[in-house]
């Protein structure tokens, strides 16, 4: 933990326990006295929101597993049974299904926050890497979970994804066979996906513990991107951030509740209310919204294997980001040129999401007959997703390293405490320092 422990055992029992298992000290140092920069904004509340979402998913998931039947003949009906006959089953199932979307919404905001404020830079590279591992595990868990209701989209989505892995040379087909538990997607697949869907959240919980550990060694970053210098820059986590995070969580739950209670199917696909039928393929196979950008990257590449490489490369890129960024300034508050590229990047990810939801040959601008270019019409989602995919990679592999070397950042403030109003727009001219000398 950052700094020496300030925990003082108060009762005799606490003193006795503290010399044997200092668990109360650990809790105190972690969530009570932990010194936290006092200038964190609301983008920093999503860590707490994510911890809560993981908790909700695990608790609702354990209850659902008590009623769910992992068998191709029973799975679809057992979900309906949960929603119709289990006490508050509609609530538990609704929280879990919508919760996956909320979990991803929160994690994307958390990741964009990390990108914008340079949270991945030294000394927080390991913290970032662990976050990337959590994100990968989340994708795997969500994918396995989406197969369990055994609807049409569950089944055919799983067929698409498992076949993708089969395109990997030499080992691919073997991995696919192993995942399927046979030579087609069938009951053994559903069984092992259920098993893995139950296992992975606990792996996530373990990596989250490491993530928090890695956070508590250097301490939180902050919107200014400068290190904490003295005690004046920080406040104890409790009550300052427990109350602020609680407020943010409560507002987040309001939005979550709006979906669960009033639009439980808004984020899902109607086709998943049709029981899986291997002989009937849905007209459009689309993943859940949170995987659409990667699906768009996959389909942007004409070659199957190259598409798979591009898709995994898009996530893999995040793992090397700390070493691609050459800028010594953490926060993009003081990097106006880079900030613009970043905003385009956010927009780019949203456009990729749009592309993933549409059929590749659909016209982007309806009614406009664009020219044919290479293998597809220019006015089609194929080309839009190709341009957007290209920007995705260019942003990380070209813009990020080049901008760090060429841009002139704004002066960054001396410290967190002064000046109190730190935004560049209101920073007094005197309160400056040389950013190039900072790490």
């Amino acid at each position: 933990m950052a700094g020496p422990s300030t925990y003082e055992p108060k009762s005799g029992f606490e003193r006795w326990l503290d010399t044997r298992l200092p668990i109360v000290r650990f809790g105190y140092d972690t969530i009570v006295s932990f010194p936290t920069p006092k200038n964190l904004n609301y983008w920093w509340t999503f860590g707490g929101i994510l911890a809560l979402m993981l908790g909700i998913q695990i608790v609702t998931g354990i209850v659902l597993a008590m009623h769910y039947a992992p068998h191709v003949d029973l799975a679809f009906d057992s979900i309906q049974r949960i929603k119709r006959d289990v006490n508050y089953g509609w609530l538990i199932q609704g929280l879990h299904a919508t919760g996956a979307s909320m979990f991803f919404l929160a994690v994307y905001i958390h990741m964009f926050r990390g990108l914008y404020y340079g949270s991945y830079k030294a000394p927080r590279e390991v913290l970032w890497l662990l976050g990337c591992v959590i994100y990968l595990l989340m994708i795997a868990t969500a994918f396995f979970g989406y197969v369990l209701p055994w609807g049409q989209m569950s089944f055919h989505g799983a067929v698409v994804i498992t076949n993708l892995i089969g395109s990997i040379p030499v080992i691919g087909p073997h991995i696919t066979t192993l995942l399927w538990g046979g030579f087609a997607l069938d009951n053994p697949t559903l069984n092992r996906f259920f098993s893995l869907h139950y296992l992975l959240p606990f792996v996530i919980a373990g990596v989250v513990a490491l993530h928090i550990w890695a956070l508590h060694v250097p301490g939180n970053g902050n919107p200014k991107g400068i290190e904490v210098k003295s005690k004046d820059d920080t406040v104890p986590f409790h009550p300052y951030y427990t109350v602020k995070d609680s407020f943010a969580i409560s507002v987040f739950l309001l939005m979550y509740g709006a979906f669960v209670f009033y639009a439980p199917d808004a984020l899902g696909d109607a086709a998943n209310y049709i029981k899986a039928n291997p002989l009937v393929t849905p007209q459009h196979i689309v993943p859940e919204w949170y995987l659409l950008p990667f699906y768009a990257i996959l389909r942007a590449v004409p070659d199957k294997l190259m598409g798979v490489i591009a898709m995994f490369g898009a996530i893999g890129t995040l793992f090397v980001l700390p070493w691609l960024d050459t800028s010594k300034v953490r926060s993009m508050r003081y990097r106006p040129a880079m900030r613009l590229w970043f905003l385009i990047f956010v927009l780019d990810c949203i456009i990729l999401g749009f592309c993933g939801a549409r059929a590749p040959d659909d016209a982007v601008i309806a009614g406009l007959a664009g020219p044919q270019f290479l293998d597809a019409n220019l006015n089609s989602f194929v080309w839009l997703s190709r341009i957007a995919s290209l920007y995705y990679f260019v942003y990380f592999w070209v813009i990020t390293p080049v901008m760090g070397l060429t841009e002139t950042p704004l002066p960054i403030p001396e410290g967190i405490s002064e000046p109190v109003l730190s935004h560049p727009a209101v920073t007094p001219a005197g309160a400056v320092s040389s950013p190039e000398k900072r790490g």
Binding site: K38, F247, Y273
Partner: protein, 281 residues
């Protein structure tokens, strides 16, 4: 503040935009004013009762509803709920409705396959013993199970209503195969069957189901006019209820939860302001 607003707006846009756009070739379904849409919407009990009658007398000849039990008809929010009988299995009306229907069973004494009157704990019986029998009786087409059909189609009850009332006269120049029917709201591509102007292929598709409803087909117990429109509307509402029988309970529970969370958020906001008072940040 403005930048935050823009960021949130962008996120909101991302959320709104994501539901996959299904490019159905049929006409966009008609919009119906249902009693059960919106955060405070409730099912119209009389409409559900009429809808059940349409299902029972017309649809159930070919379509199963395998997720439904007779007791569901008498549960809270159901078509025949009676507050006097909290336990739907005691509801005499539901018992009588069930007893009208024969369900297959095994005689416990002899082991013979028998038919007996249904009870409240029985599922709605299937019209055909298996898929092959269902296809054989329907020109090769399989009538889908209707339990969650209102959720399994984009547009839900609006789409079902549109389909049931969408048997338009076949456009001249469209070759309709044996056992097929033209429906303006059915998804499909009619190019291959169209001999007219290739730039004006009619929208819609072919459906194996013959027009199931017609004026006066069902006699409603509440003297509602038995028009095709009315039958279609009522059975669509019934199917919407069947697909989501807990919808009303969910919305009522949600109202309490949302009010609680809203007040809790206000309380936390003031706690936050108070705790942070005097801390420059």
């Amino acid at each position: 503040m403005l930048r935050k607003a823009i960021a949130f707006a962008a996120l909101g846009l991302a959320l709104v935009a994501v539901p996959a756009a299904a490019s159905t070739e049929g006409y966009k379904h008609r919009e119906v004013e249902w009693s059960f849409t919106g955060p405070f919407g409730k099912f119209d009990t009389a409409q559900l009762q009429r809808g059940y009658k349409v299902y029972r007398e017309v649809c159930s000849a070919c379509h199963s509803m395998s997720q439904l039990y007779f007791r569901n008809l008498g549960q809270k929010g159901g078509p025949f709920y009676d507050p006097e009988y909290k336990n739907p299995n005691d509801n005499p009306y539901v018992k009588a409705l069930a007893a009208d229907i024969q369900v297959p069973d095994i005689d416990g004494e002899t082991g013979d396959a028998i038919q007996r009157a249904a009870g409240t704990a029985d599922k709605f019986p299937r019209p055909f013993p298996n898929e092959a029998a269902a296809r054989a009786s329907n020109g090769g087409a399989l009538p889908p199970d209707l339990s969650v059909i209102a959720k399994a189609r984009e547009g839900g009850p609006d789409y079902i209503y549109s389909l049931l009332t969408g048997y338009a006269p076949t456009p001249a120049g469209l070759k309709v195969g044996t056992g097929q029917h033209y429906n303006a709201y059915m998804a499909g591509d009619l190019t291959a069957a169209w001999s007219g102007d290739p730039h004006h292929v009619p929208k819609g598709g072919f459906i194996a189901m013959a027009p199931p409803l017609k004026n006066g087909l069902v006699t409603f117990d509440d003297k509602s006019p038995s028009t095709l429109e009315q039958q279609a509307k009522d059975v669509s509402a019934f199917l919407a209820w069947a697909a989501d029988p807990k919808a009303t309970e969910r919305k009522q529970f949600g109202l309490g939860a949302m009010i609680y969370l809203f007040l809790f958020s206000i309380l936390l906001w003031f706690s936050y302001k108070r705790v942070w008072k005097g801390v420059a940040h």
